[in-house]
């Protein structure tokens, strides 16, 4: 494989066309997988021997939580790329991903609270993972707030890249401090190195949900990045031509 794709990433037009081609496939695939996964998980997967049916919220909770955490990592990677190679796309990615990440973090927190009611008997406990997710939500809010208060484009890109990188250095520290501070949450459901403790018929729909939510996320990011490109590149000829054609690519 050559590194040309990396250079192409520097061109907003190339990325726009890529996003145009892939967004509907990804969104469709994501929705399909999410439907399959949730129907399978909610109706056909066996109930948990301890928690009964209430465990089924795991099929929403875990995928959103995984995505919420990895979205920040992706933003940090984009921030690094943006600082080092000054790519426009990386900042557009941060712009597109931050609100999505905040949304997924909120969903993870919300489903966690709903799950906590039947299992722990209370909506909210100051448990390690819940608390670190809450702090992650604030980190997302910080990025969004900083972006909305800086108007100058280049400075906004740099400022949010620095902030995201500082945040990503802090995330493990926050995570372990909070974990040390208090924990009653069950350990991670999916780890890459160990076999899951769940039976196959339970975790397979979960895996489908995770893949589905990633497809959905990527599709949404593509749509949002396209928006960003159109706004920022509105002075260029190809965007003006595109608008004159009514948004149809050729």
């Amino acid at each position: 494989m050559k590194w040309t794709f990396f250079h192409k990433l520097g061109s907003p037009k190339w990325f726009y066309d890529l996003a145009e081609r892939w967004q509907f496939i990804l969104l469709g695939l994501g929705l399909l997988l999410l439907c399959v996964g949730s129907v399978w998980g909610l109706f056909f997967a066996p109930p948990d021997y301890q928690q009964g049916d209430s465990f089924r919220i795991i099929y929403i909770h875990v995928p959103t939580a995984i995505l919420a955490q990895s979205c920040y990592m992706m933003m940090a990677a984009a921030g690094l790329v943006g600082l080092v190679w000054k790519m426009k796309i990386s900042d557009m990615f941060i712009a597109a991903a931050a609100p999505l990440g905040a949304g997924f973090t909120f969903l993870a927190l919300f489903t966690g609270a709903v799950w906590g009611k039947p299992t722990w008997g209370t909506w909210w406990v100051w448990d390690a993972r819940l608390t670190s997710m809450l702090l992650l939500l604030f980190l997302y809010f910080g990025v969004i707030a900083l972006r909305s208060s800086v108007t100058q484009v280049e400075m906004r890109a740099k400022a949010s890249a620095i902030l995201v990188l500082v945040g990503v250095v802090n995330i493990p520290i926050i995570k372990y401090s909070v974990e040390w501070w208090n924990t009653l949450h069950q350990p991670a459901t999916f780890t890459l190195t160990e076999k899951p403790a769940m039976p196959v018929e339970m975790w397979l729909p979960l895996l489908i949900m995770v893949i589905g939510i990633y497809c959905l996320f990527t599709g949404l990011v593509f749509v949002r990045v396209q928006n960003e490109i159109l706004q920022r590149e509105q002075k260029t000829k190809w965007v003006q031509a595109l608008v004159e054609r009514g948004g149809k690519s050729r």
């Binding site: 620095i162 902030l163 802090n170």
Partner: protein, 228 residues
């Protein structure tokens, strides 16, 4: 024109900053008053009883200290940005992160240290057992520099934003949670009769991490603010 040696320029920046801090005592004084006022609010608003206060005094002092430090840090680089000092630092040819360290030191001398000195008085008013006061001061001594160093990143990022005040809190407070956790944990351990060396060591670790990493992020943010 030749660049003066690093030692000379850092020393002159330090003395200039100390002088400036002395002449604009207001912002540091405001932070101190804020600290005292927040601590007075708790007995009035929650419970003046000795049982509650003795249990939560350390946490209250830590939270108030965190908020007061943030309040002072908000305007840390504001004046340097407005009058062009920041530009001079950037073009001075000296490593910016060292200047940032000096600036942080002065900032800490202006806020962190007075807060620590005031702590015995307020901790006594909050009925913290007197044998735990030195420990509280020690934990603050290790923790407040970290707060200043992390806060300085936020201050540098928001220096050119007019309404940066609340934004700074949102950017920085989540990052200071670990310091708060271990700072209060040291006191809680002592209250339970357990050794608190472990927590103090972790605080020391945070201090070492912060002092070696934060100045670089701050100087990157300052350069960005100046360049625009």
């Amino acid at each position: 024109m030749s660049v003066p040696s690093l030692r000379i320029s850092l020393r002159s920046i330090f003395s200039a900053e100390v002088q400036l801090a002395f002449r604009s005592k207001r912002q540091f004084f405001n932070a101190l008053m804020f600290f005292v006022l927040v601590l007075v609010l708790f007995p009035l608003g929650v419970d003046p009883g000795k049982a509650f206060l003795a249990k939560s005094a350390a946490g209250l002092v830590w939270v108030a200290c965190l908020l007061a430090s943030m309040l002072a840090i908000e305007s840390m680089y504001r004046q340097d940005y407005d009058d062009g000092t920041l530009e001079q630092w950037v073009v001075s040819g000296q490593p910016l992160f060292l200047i940032v360290l000096v600036k942080n030191l002065v900032q800490w001398l202006g806020t962190g240290l007075p807060l620590i000195i005031l702590t015995p008085l307020l901790a006594t008013m909050l009925h913290l057992p007197s044998e735990h006061i030195p420990l509280l001061m020690l934990s603050l001594l290790l923790g407040t520099p970290v707060i200043t160093l992390i806060g300085s990143i936020g201050a540098a990022l928001t220096v050119s934003i007019r309404s940066g005040g609340v934004l700074l809190f949102l950017l920085v407070l989540p990052l200071t949670i670990p310091v708060l956790i271990f700072g209060t944990a040291a006191l809680n351990a002592a209250a339970d009769g357990l050794p608190s060396n472990g927590m103090l060591t972790v605080l020391l670790l945070f201090f070492v991490l912060a002092i070696s990493l934060c100045p670089f992020a701050t100087s990157a943010a300052l350069k960005m603010s100046v360049e625009q």
